[in-house]
């Protein structure tokens, strides 16, 4: 286990508790709806309605209905101007603070890939087509990646400084992993960590142009997989020094016990086919957690359902683990990019709390080249103590976190 020093140079390594969590995704608003959707293995991917996809191969995505997103939120003029991502973050943070109203973070670390991208699109499109630019100052002000985080904090009177990590699709896991290390080092007592991303035309078309997205169902690790679908979500975890949490009698939902990060420099959009990057991230997470591969009971895979990504990740998983149950929950809601790692951490948390294996839906047949124990199509009850969550992104960024049920 990596040793850290606190500001006084003393070697310490504290335990890191998850004391609250909030989530909004196509699977539902809040933990209760989310766990229900996970149990039922719901397919929440629907035809995209937010922008035209008529010229795209892929025409579906995981979307959060507007009425659900805005329910219970302030109807004022300012609220009306906020980006969709801000509303998502406000919902997620609201759930965290409903569980832990006394949680006062010293730092907030959030992952995203595209900030308020759709406002940037409105702005550029209006310039390009000589359109109405009266709202341009609002679009510009709400475009920066830190804005939804600041909006959410401001809504609840939280003044913590914000670090916004944009490590492509690994961002959410990087945010939680770095927050974990901040608390474990003893430098911070309480940190909020998570991720968000809202669907946007530019990113949707971008993945379509790479032919990474599919016109069919998203089938991670399937022999017949043809690509990913995109989604949107926001999720936040409240991390706290375990001792501090126990002293103030906060509920401990689980512990984060390890974090691994690696960079493979094979290609800006493709993983090294050997799986070296994901393998290093998983091995480093195990090393960081001080546990063996045999102690991991479930892997929430990155599992985008692209041919190359799943092959590399599958190879890495089978090299490190022996028959551990694996699923990609992106099959149910699409790939929410910067939010994915955070949402999937929440799924792991729910799996540990409720003792089940989330499903990898749309699964038709095993890939002969992948030696994996896929949790196909139906949720399974299971005895779980430790879960691993993987996220890998453009630029060769790979991240894994380990979460464990809490025991004294």
């Amino acid at each position: 286990m990596a040793q850290s020093s606190n500001p006084n140079g003393k070697k310490i390594s504290v335990r890191v508790a998850v004391v609250a969590a909030g989530v909004v995704s196509p699977l539902g608003v809040g933990l209760a709806e989310t766990v229900d959707s996970l149990y039922k293995a719901r397919d929440c991917v629907t035809p995209v309605t937010r922008f035209s996809v008529s010229q795209c191969r892929c025409k579906t995505g995981g979307q959060i209905p507007d009425d659900r997103l805005l329910a219970g939120q302030n109807e004022g003029r300012r609220s009306h101007r906020l980006h969709r991502a801000s509303h998502m973050m406000i919902q997620a943070l609201k759930e965290v603070l409903t569980q832990e109203p006394q949680f006062e973070p010293e730092l907030t670390i959030i992952g995203t890939t595209s900030g308020g991208m759709s406002y940037g699109e409105h702005y550029y499109r209006s310039i390009c087509q000589a359109g109405d630019l009266r709202h341009a100052p609002t679009w510009i002000a709400n475009y920066p990646a830190q804005k939804p985080v600041i909006d959410a904090q401001e809504a609840f009177g939280i003044s913590a400084p914000c670090q916004i990590i944009a490590n492509a699709c690994a961002s959410g896991t990087n945010a939680i992993g770095h927050a974990f290390e901040c608390v474990r080092s003893g430098r911070y007592q309480r940190v909020l960590a998570g991720g968000y991303d809202a669907l946007s035309e530019m990113v949707f078309v971008g993945f379509d142009s790479l032919q990474a997205s599919t016109p069919e169902k998203c089938r991670p690790f399937d022999r017949h997989r043809t690509g990913m679908v995109l989604g949107e979500a926001a999720a936040i975890l409240a991390l706290e020094n375990l001792e501090s949490a126990q002293q103030r009698r906060a509920p401990v939902l689980a512990e984060i016990i390890g974090y691994g990060i690696s960079t493979d420099n094979f290609h800006i959009t493709q993983p090294d086919p050997s799986g070296i990057g994901p393998r290093q991230a998983m091995e480093r997470a195990l090393q960081s957690g001080g546990i063996s591969a045999a102690e991991v009971d479930y892997i929430n895979a990155h599992g985008t359902a692209t041919v190359f990504n799943d092959a590399a990740e599958g190879k890495a998983i089978s090299a490190v683990f022996n028959g551990v149950p694996v699923s990609s929950t992106k099959s149910m809601m699409g790939h929410s990019l910067g939010a994915a790692g955070a949402v999937e951490a929440v799924f792991c948390l729910l799996a540990l709390q409720h003792q089940f294996l989330p499903s990898n839906i749309n699964f038709t047949a095993s890939d002969d080249d992948l030696d994996l124990n896929i949790v196909g199509n139906e949720t399974r009850p299971a005895v779980l103590r430790t879960a691993l969550s993987n996220s890998f992104g453009f630029g060769g960024t790979n991240a894994s976190i380990l979460m464990r049920s809490f025991k004294e």
């Binding site: 100052p137 904090q153 670090q163 960079t263 630029g395």
Partner: protein
């Protein structure tokens, strides 16, 4: 925990190379502006661009299709590593963390990619351009050039993001498995950014940037990169990085700045490198500084180099480090009417200076600071 600055790299509109740019600043040089025009309108903007010559010697296959932002970053990062004498073999590559500070990112390719979608439809979107639109593209290019196999992070924010990246480095270096952090701030210019800042009433049509002016006439955008290698030991240290906070309204920035100055021990410092750029930032920093110790010198290089947003924080740290090393401050250019701050209006010796504060008040709500010292 203090961190040593082991090496620095600088790509600016005044050229590249830390010593060379510093000399020019000491001589009171100001970068020349270039005019760039809107693509769809008839407006044009004055900006400070990096001269092409400044990027000589940074060709690499990985950068063949990369945008300017990635090339600036690579040039600055490689210079910083050379200065630190850090050789990244396989073992060191795993124990070195790369942290990027970005604000607007690869705006040139992003705009081009989306323009094709708007004008021609989704089917004309370029799969070659799309990966370059991602915020972490510049970091991934430099990681590939250096062979970094451990952690790489890209932080996004406003002008304060550079100092937040250094704060992140401070947190990461608490882990003894890390030997060095290479922190790079980088930014590129496009007319679209000029238009956006103009609509926000933060941009000035033509130079100069007049710092601490009551009129807040606005800033001129610039581009480039700054890089520092952080290690554990050395004579020049970042004693404390302060993550600051955010302001909901601009008027609130001053209170965060005051808190940062107080926490960083303003009374013991010799000079402050400010982020004053001709906008509301100047008044906030002026008020915060006046509330503390009015005897410290206050320097800003933005009239000479422009506002480089994502790169700005790293530039300020390099300026503070160079001032401590050389015991001199360059002149603050175009500071017109007398202000109640102690500005070096000509090249000013600061013999015996030991401590400096860098303040960064961003345009999009983030504020941070740090304290440097030299032994």
């Amino acid at each position: 925990m203090s961190l040593a600055i082991a090496g620095m790299g600088w790509v600016t509109p005044l050229g590249s190379g830390v010593d060379s740019v510093w000399e020019r600043l000491l001589h009171g040089d100001e970068a020349s502006t270039t005019t760039i025009s809107e693509e769809f309108g008839d407006r044009s903007y004055n900006v400070f661009r990096v001269p092409e010559l400044a990027l000589r010697g940074t060709a690499h296959p990985r950068l063949r299709r990369a945008s300017a932002i990635s090339r600036f970053a690579a040039a600055a990062g490689l210079e910083a590593l050379r200065a630190a004498n850090v050789k990244l073999d396989a073992q060191h590559a795993e124990r070195t963390v790369l942290i990027f500070a970005i604000s607007n990112g690869g705006v040139i390719y992003t705009k081009r990619f989306y323009r094709d979608i708007v004008n021609e439809g989704a089917q004309s979107a370029s799969p070659l351009l799309f990966p370059e639109t991602v915020f972490n593209a510049p970091a991934s290019h430099l990681a590939a050039i250096l062979g970094i196999s451990g952690a790489t992070y890209t932080l996004v924010g406003d002008g304060a993001v550079g100092l937040l990246a250094i704060k992140m480095a401070e947190d990461l270096m608490a882990n003894e498995a890390i030997d060095h952090c290479l922190v790079v701030g980088t930014e590129e210019i496009d007319w679209l950014l000029c238009d956006a800042y103009r609509r926000w009433r933060l941009l000035r049509a033509a130079p100069p940037i007049e710092p601490f002016s009551r009129q807040k006439l606005g800033m001129i955008l610039s581009e480039g990169a700054g890089a520092i290698v952080l290690a554990r030991d050395g004579p020049l240290t970042i004693e404390c990085a302060h993550p600051g906070g955010y302001f909901a309204k601009r008027a609130e920035a001053v209170e965060i700045l005051k808190r940062i100055l107080c926490d960083l021990g303003q009374s013991e410092i010799d000079f402050v490198v400010s982020s004053a750029n001709g906008t509301f930032v100047d008044e906030a920093e002026c008020r915060a500084l006046k509330a503390g110790d009015p005897n410290a010198f206050v320097y800003t290089a933005k009239p000479a180099l422009g506002e480089s947003v994502g790169a700005a924080g790293l530039w300020q740290v390099i300026l503070a480090a160079q001032a401590l090393r050389s015991a001199e401050l360059p002149p603050v250019l175009h500071a017109g009417a007398p202000v109640s701050l102690r500005l070096p209006r000509s090249r000013t010796p600061i013999a015996g200076a030991r401590c400096a504060i860098v303040l960064s008040c961003g345009l999009n709500q983030q504020v941070a600071g740090l304290r440097l010292a030299i032994r």
